[in-house]
Symmetry: C2
Subunit: 540 residues, 2 copies
Amino acid sequence: MDLLINIDSASAAPLHRQIYDEVRRAILSGRLAKGKRVPSTREMAKMLGVSRATVTLAFEYLLSEGYFQTYKGSGTYVSKHLPDELTYVSEELAEEAHHLAEEAFEQIGSSGAFPAPETSGAFPVIEPALTPAPEGQKRRRGRKLSLYGMSLRSRDWLGFPDDEPEIQFAFGRPDLDEFPMRVWNQLMNKRCRQRKLDLLDCPTKAAGYEPLRKAISRYIARARAVICDPEQVIIVNGSQQALDLVNRVLVDPGDLVGIEEPGYIGAQKAFQAQGARLIPAYVDKNGVRVDYLKARLGKDGDKLKVLYVTPSHQYPTGVVMSLPRRLELLTWAKREGTIIVEDDYDSEYRYSGKPMPALAGIDDGGTVIYVGTFSKVLLPALRLGYLVVPKDLVGVFSRAKWLADRHSSLLQQQVLADFILQGHLSKHVRRMRAIYQERRKLVIECLKGLFEDDVTIYGENAGINILLRLKTDLADDEIVARARRLGVGVVSTRQLYLQDAPSAEFLLNYGGLKEDEIVEGLSRLRAAIADKEQPLIQPA
Amino acid sequence: MDLLINIDSASAAPLHRQIYDEVRRAILSGRLAKGKRVPSTREMAKMLGVSRATVTLAFEYLLSEGYFQTYKGSGTYVSKHLPDELTYVSEELAEEAHHLAEEAFEQIGSSGAFPAPETSGAFPVIEPALTPAPEGQKRRRGRKLSLYGMSLRSRDWLGFPDDEPEIQFAFGRPDLDEFPMRVWNQLMNKRCRQRKLDLLDCPTKAAGYEPLRKAISRYIARARAVICDPEQVIIVNGSQQALDLVNRVLVDPGDLVGIEEPGYIGAQKAFQAQGARLIPAYVDKNGVRVDYLKARLGKDGDKLKVLYVTPSHQYPTGVVMSLPRRLELLTWAKREGTIIVEDDYDSEYRYSGKPMPALAGIDDGGTVIYVGTFSKVLLPALRLGYLVVPKDLVGVFSRAKWLADRHSSLLQQQVLADFILQGHLSKHVRRMRAIYQERRKLVIECLKGLFEDDVTIYGENAGINILLRLKTDLADDEIVARARRLGVGVVSTRQLYLQDAPSAEFLLNYGGLKEDEIVEGLSRLRAAIADKEQPLIQPA
C-alpha cells in the first residue's frame, strides 16, 4: 500500500485519531482504492513507528464506520461499498450506492425492519395552512397577526393535555433523578464565586462562550466524527432554537422543505409556521428514500431548500441510516444545493450494531448543518444545545442568534464547559447508556410478554424511545383515552405524519421511567386495550 | 365627593392599592370629574375606616402619576390635564391632551430639552434593504439564504469592534460586581438540592415557571402600575427575544412598523431583518410625536402594525414621555388598531421628577404589549426577561415561544422567582439606584467641568446612560477612533437614527463603571477631542 500517512507526534490530536483521519481522507479522495487490501495492524504499526494498540484502535473505528471490511481469515480491505470519491461522485456511483444500500447493508436498528412506504408515484407537497391573502382582499376580523402568528391561532395546535398522568410515556425525557446535580452544583458554586461574567453582548460573541464552543468541537470530533473549528459551533437554547435559526436564515415562505415522513413534530410545526411547503421524505429500513426525492424533485425543476433528517436514530421510527444511504444523500444534496439539517438529538444512546459517524462527519463542510442538544443527555431544563454550521454561514447564524435573544445564559454555558472538560459528560453518558439499556430490555420483554403477536417493535437499538404498532380494532384516540383513564400517558404517531398515518402506532418514551413504572405502565396499557367496555370516544 | 370606593379587607391586594385603583377607575371612567376637589386624607381615612397613612400612600401615587394635582394651601384636586374618559376619548379630547402636553407639562427628564425634529412635512418610509426578487428572476449567486438571512450577510451589520477597551462606555451594562451573587448562589444551591425540575416541555407550559409569572405580575403591579393576570406574563430570554416573538407573531414582510427616531438598535435591526417598512416616530421633549404619526398615516390610509416605544426613559435621548402624550398615544393606537410595544428596559432607575406609570398600566388591556427585562436590573448574563401580552394573544405567544426554544432555563427561572419573592430584587434596586445616582452626578460634574459650554446633556434623570452632544469639528468616527486609542470605548448615536443623525452625538453608558473609571474615561475623551493632531481617519 503506497499510502502516505503523516502523523505528527507534537500535535494535540491523539495518534489513533490522526491515523484514522489520514486513512479516511485517503479513501474518500480515491488515493486508497475500494476493495484494496490493507496492511495488517502489525505492519502498519512498524511502518509508522507507533504501538500496535494505537493502530488497532484506528482500524476499529474504520471498520465500525464501514470504511474497512474484513473477510474471515483473509485480512482487512477497503470497503467495496463506498463510492470512489465522495466530493465528485458521479451519478452512476450514487445509484450504485443506493442499490448497495438495498442489497448489502442489513438494517441494524430494528427487530422488525421499518416497512417501505406504499407510494405509487404520488409525491405530494403539503402547502402551508395559510397563504398571504391576495392584495386588496381583507383578512378576517380581529387581531392582525402575521401569517406566522395566524398559523399558531388554533388551540388544538399541538394536542397535548396539560396535566401529567401518573406514568408518562408521551414525552421524550431523560431520567431527571440520575442527573449529576451535585457535581453540577459544585461547578456552579465555583463559577458564581469567580464572577467572571465575560460579556457576550457584542454581536460577534453571540455565538457563545469560547471555551464551551471549544469543548463541544472536541466532544463531537471524538463522539461523532464531526471535525470542525470551534468558531463553527453556535450555542443555542436546545435543538428547537437551532431549528428556529435555520428557519430564519434559510427559509422563506413558499420554499420547499423536506422532512422525514413520519418525522419530528417540533421541526414539522416550525417549518409549517414559517410558511414552507413541505415535502414528505419517506423513510424505509435504511433511512430517507433519496430515490423518491430525486424522482419528485427532478420532475418540475423544484429544489429543496432544506432537508431535515435524524440519521442516527430516526424520529420516531428509530431507523439508523445506512452508510451508503448517507453517501447517496450527501452526494445528491450537494449537487442540488440543498442544505441538510442533521438533528443528532440522542446519538449518545446506541446499544448494538455499528456506531455510525454523523453525516456532518462525512460531509466536506458545505452541505450539512449539524444540530446537537444536551436535553436528552443531561437535562431539558437547561435549554442548551448547539449548531455546527458551514464556515461561510458562521457570521449570518451568529447575527441571527444575536437578534433572536443576544446569547444563551452565560453562567450555564460556563458550567457546561467545565462539566465537559472535566470528563463528567462522557462519564454520565456511559452510566446512562447502561441504565437505559436495561430499561429498553425490560420494555421489550414486557411488550412481548403482554402483547405477544399483537405488537411489532421498531427502532429499539438506539435512543430512549421505541416505536410500536399494535394489532387492535380500537381507534388511536380511544387507546390514548383509555390509557389516560388508567393513569398512563401514551402518544400516537398520527401527528408525526404529514399524510395518512398507520393506525395504532405509538411512540413509547421510556427514558424517564423507573423499572417498576415501566412494568406497571405497560400492564395498564395492555389492560386498557383488552378492555371490552364501551368506547370512551364516539367516532365522529 | 359622592365617590363610592369599595375596599375589601379580605382581599390580598394592600388597602392603599385598592384605594388607588378605585380612585383611578373613577377618574378614567368620568365618575370623578376633572378639576374637582378631593377630600383630605383625614376625611377620606375616616370615610373608609382605614388609617390616614394608608390613604396618604394612595394619594401620593395618584399625585405622582398626575391623576391628582395640588395648589399651595388649597388642597388636592383631580388633574385638569386628563381627558374625561380614556377608553372612549373623543378626537377633540385627544387633541386637547396633545396641546396640554405642549403647554402645561414641563419636561422632567432633561437639563437640555431634547429638541423637536426638523421635519417640514417629510414623513419617509424606510424600505427594507431587501425585497423579494420578482418571480422567475434569479437571486444572486452563492448560498440561497432567506430574505432574513440575506439581510444579515454584511460584516458591517453591527459595527462593534470585538475587543474591549479599558474603559467601556459603549454598551448598556449594569455594574456586575454589585450583583448579589452570594444570595443568588445560595438560592441556586437550594433549588439544585430540591431537584424539582418541573417539566415545561408541553406547549401550554412554554410561557414559563408559574411561580415566576406570579412574582413578576405582582412586582410590576407595584413598581409599574401594570395590572395583569400571571397567565399574561410570558417568560423570555431578555428583551431581545421579546422583540423577536413580537416580530414573529405580528409582523409580515412589507408591514409598516414605527420605531422611535432615534431609537434602540436591537429593535431597529430586528424589524428590518423581518422585512418591515419602518416609519420614524420622531421624539421631542415629551416623547413620541403622535401628531406626526397621525399626519403621516392618515394621508394614504396606511396603518402601523406595531409601534415600538421606550416611554419611561427613551432610548437613547432619555426623554420621559409625559402623561398627556401617553394618553394621546394610547387613544390614537387603539383607534388605529396599532399594537404598542412598550420596552421598559430600565424603568427601575429614576432619580428625580415624578415616577410615571407604564403605558401598559393605563391601557385597558388590548393595545399595549409590555416588555421587561432583568438584564439591566440584575445581570445580562442571565438572559431573563418577560412579555405581558393582551389576554387574547396569550396562546399565540406561548406557542411562538415553544417554537422558538421551548421555554427558558428552568433552574434560572426558579432561582429568580425565589429572589423576587424573598424581597431581594426590591432591595437590590434600591441599593443600585443610590449607587447609579452618585455615578450620574459624577458624570454630569465631569462633563460640565471638562467640556464646559461644548456639551449639552440629555436624559440624565433616569436610567444608566446619558446622551450628549459635543461642539467639535471632528467627525464622529474620528472621535471614536481617537478615544479608542486612549483606551476608551464610546458609541456615536449615528446608527440609532434611520435618517440623518446630528453630528457628535454620543451615548454614554456609565452603569458598569466605577467612579475612578468614569473620571479617567471622561478626561481621556476630552483629551482625545482636544488633540490637535492629524486626523486618524481620512474622510472618504
